[in-house]
Symmetry: C2
Subunit: 516 residues, 2 copies
């Protein structure tokens, strides 16, 4: 069968089980767009900004465990999606990141839209490649998918010059084998188990090791050895709620983190990195573990973490031990009080429906949410691992497309929400089952804390003005409605509870602006 490069791309992606394309295409991608008509099976989701497309690909991978692709327009389109690719990279999310390029003869002329696409892609990508002919496109696409799936997942950027799309000679490629992650040895597991046996020991779990089954094994190990359990501050997907082993996170505020980690003399890292501060602060250590602590990396995140946890559990002799720290079903009472983190937390805990996916970018407002929701209905919880704000609404789009039968709750600060408001339009267009809650404190509240954290005393009005979003206040409900999403603003706790019930009930997107 004769076909052009564009068609071979779509058929090869489908053969490798890539079935969703988050895109904002341009002229150089028009043949790929056309190929999507000829070939059945690829769901195309249009985004009005590339950072929505790339963030959605991140969220999709977190739930589906295999990648979606993007289709972005040249270097500037890639640049627009770069910060959520940064977040995806840090989350270990696999993304087949397809970027159109000028035909090679045109690149040489430095056209207005010419830029160094590979150069822009490299800082966020684990793999970067440019196809050089229509005949290569299919095989390159299959390789990109396999590379995107390399554990734990990575951004694989494939650059496709437009002539590789329109020229004939495309060849559909078979799926490439996905590189299998290595496990850990019995000896290493035994060494780690010995380190955990006793007081003042910690098993620190990283992403990829905080699914429900992972946590159950960790709970058995804790019950047997007496070790404590923690996860990193940010997790791609943690499965939690009633009936699951409850694990707290290393806190973000550096003083709290230092205090919490101070007692541990033996720390086993399983999928986790050595804990460090999110930022550097003058006169404070970057490493959060106490001097002299014994850190043992049983498995970094590129390993087979399911196998590593099972091996550790076996080495500890805990396979048959009932797990510790299983969360009981518990819905905290909503206290009297004004709108704020302390009332939002129990409202949330009571509202989270079974199997919900919570995409959390609540920043300062959300610091109290984790303990309060530990006994809520079982759910998945996403954090932002790269720290670039504007991830939650796009990531929710991808999660909702991956799991159409589950409710997605996107929780976001107002500052973060303003980074990627275009995600709301895609939610409306695809009628996605997402309830967005915006915590409208009308400031970059976190930076007010950071200002004193880095040692700035008595900031003046010009500094404070750079951290304020109240001049003018943003009407988030109106903004959502302008993009076709039903929305309301609430200023009282009871009103918030009712709005949340409506948003969760609704089959489609809903936005609540919680003003406090």
């Amino acid at each position: 069968m004769s076909m052009n490069g564009a068609e071979s791309l779509v058929r090869s992606l489908l053969a490798s089980e890539v079935e969703v394309c988050f895109t904002n295409p341009g002229t150089s991608e028009m043949h790929f767009v056309a190929a999507l008509d000829h070939v059945e099976g690829m769901r195309c989701v249009l985004a009005l900004h590339e950072n929505v497309a790339t963030g959605a690909a991140d969220g999709y991978y977190r739930m589906k465990g295999r990648p979606a692709c993007t289709l972005l327009h040249l270097g500037p389109g890639l640049a627009n999606g770069l910060s959520n690719l940064h977040n995806a990279k840090k989350a270990g999310s696999g993304v087949v990141n397809i970027v159109g390029e000028h035909a090679e003869t045109h690149v040489a002329l430095e056209a207005p839209l010419y830029s160094d696409i590979e150069g822009i892609a490299r800082p966020v990508s684990g793999w970067v490649h440019t196809s050089h002919s229509a005949a290569d496109v299919g095989a390159d696409a299959a390789t990109a998918v396999a590379e995107a799936r390399r554990a734990p997942g990575q951004v694989a950027t494939l650059v496709l010059p437009s002539d590789t799309a329109w020229n004939e000679g495309g060849v559909v490629a078979e799926p490439q084998p996905v590189p299998a992650p290595e496990g850990v040895s019995e000896a290493a597991a035994a060494e780690a188990a010995a380190l955990l046996d006793g007081p003042q020991t910690l098993l620190l779990l990283g992403q990829g090791a905080v699914g429900a089954e992972n946590l159950e094994l960790a709970g058995r190990i804790a019950a047997k050895t007496g070790c404590h359990l923690l996860s990193e501050w940010s997790n791609a997907v943690m499965e939690r709620g009633a009936g699951r082993v409850m694990v707290n996170r290393v806190p973000y505020p550096i003083d709290q983190a230092l205090e919490l980690l101070a007692p541990y003399r033996n720390i086993v890292l399983l999928g986790a990195r050595e804990p460090i501060g999110f930022f550097a602060y003058p006169g404070k250590p970057a490493r959060l573990t106490p001097e002299g602590a014994n850190l043992y990396t049983l498995a970094d995140r590129s390993r087979d973490l399911d196998q590593a946890l099972a091996a550790l559990c076996a080495a500890a002799g805990a396979t048959e031990v009932p797990p510790a720290h299983v969360a009981e079903a518990h819905l905290p009472e909503v206290p009297e009080g004004p709108m704020g983190p302390d009332t939002f937390a129990p409202v949330l805990a009571r509202a989270i429906p079974e199997n919900a996916i919570v995409v959390d970018e609540s920043i300062t407002t959300g610091r109290a949410f984790f303990p309060a929701t530990a006994g809520a209905a079982p759910h998945a919880w996403f954090n932002n691992l790269g720290g670039s704000i504007g991830y939650s609404m796009p990531c929710a789009v991808g999660a909702a497309i991956a799991c159409p039968d589950r409710k997605v709750l996107a929780l976001t600060g107002d500052g973060s929400a303003m980074y990627t408001p275009q995600a709301l339009w895609s939610m409306a267009r695809e009628n996605l089952n997402i309830c967005v809650v915006i915590w409208a404190n009308r400031s970059y509240r976190i930076l007010r804390g950071e200002l004193s954290g880095v040692g700035v005393q008595n900031p003046g009005p010009r500094a404070m003005d750079m951290l304020s979003l109240d001049r003018p206040a943003i009407d988030f409900a109106a903004q959502a409605q302008s993009m076709g999403v039903e929305a309301e603003a609430v200023t009282e706790v009871e009103q918030f509870q009712e709005a949340l019930a409506r948003g969760i009930e609704k089959d489609g997107p809903y936005l609540i602006e919680a003003i406090f």
Copy 2:
């Protein structure tokens, strides 16, 4: 006087006449934010997305001729602003692009927000440097300003680790000399003049050579030699309108461009590049000039173009010749007819107030605007030189801050407007004198043309869906109001005229959604 690096930064920038900072700061920039309190003289403009900040810096330079600075948060903040830096690079706009970085000890630990900042910056920057101590910051800032001003202007990226900000030992630097652009020789000018002497000759003017005085010289040369005049498709700032020498642009549609350029046997390039297609198209040439044409580059855009034009004028013996093609004051009648490009053009021509700055990102809708506005009141006209959409509203912010006494008209397609809606909030916050017009055709109309331009026949529903913005339609007026900007939607020509009069009259931002 003892000061930290952050304070030396602000004082050194001010000493080099950098007086405006477009910013979205984060933790790693908090000391710089604090320094803005201690030091008088720097106007700080907060943007809710970095692409607003970088686009504003572009617009500011276009009008002011000297750079503003940005202050961006780490690699992701830079990434968010990258596509408008790409546009600034292509426009030859000078930007002192300041990016915070982790303290050096923290970079080594690969913190969540760590990324290769220099790697991200390099594709859009003419100069990239990282400071290594507080003592270096002042001098590095002065060098960055001088580099940003290197003709015609370039993006100079200075990366400042947070410890260089908070450590003591800052030193205020004197301004560095700006590298002077070279002129052209008398012999070269004479050669060019000889080439233009006669029929079928063209003087092609690039940016930096389309100010009012440049155009007057070009008009004299045309009158004397008989050469034709054209500018490139995109110009950073063209000064035009009644009383000025009128110059058309090389058209965007490739067939029109090929036809227009076909007759010329001698073409002199002055600040312009050899004309090429915006995109490559199968079976069409990339170079727009006819084979065998004699192209002579008198001066590329890094030269002193004022001197080059004067030398060419003198060599042609045209210094005292009255210029050709001077536009007469002419306000076209508004024809009967529906909303659309043909009625918008005369409405605009009649409405443009004297000294207005038109920031044009009208894409398909605007192709008829240029001839129709040739006899309008004198005004400046900006194009997007990098082709990355979402430039107009941010660029308008910068132009309005550079020229508070002039009206700014930001004309934008709906697809483009959705890239940087956050600019509206900064317009409201700073009460900027900007009237935004959104051409709401509810599609990526240009791509519908491009689809057939690249040879795709009979696109199916999935392809067309990727080019449509009508599901759901976006309420741009409501969106603007949600960010504090007064706005209205219009659907009739007369209504549009009245709205435009209101928007131009208003002292502050106003948005008109023109639905057609």
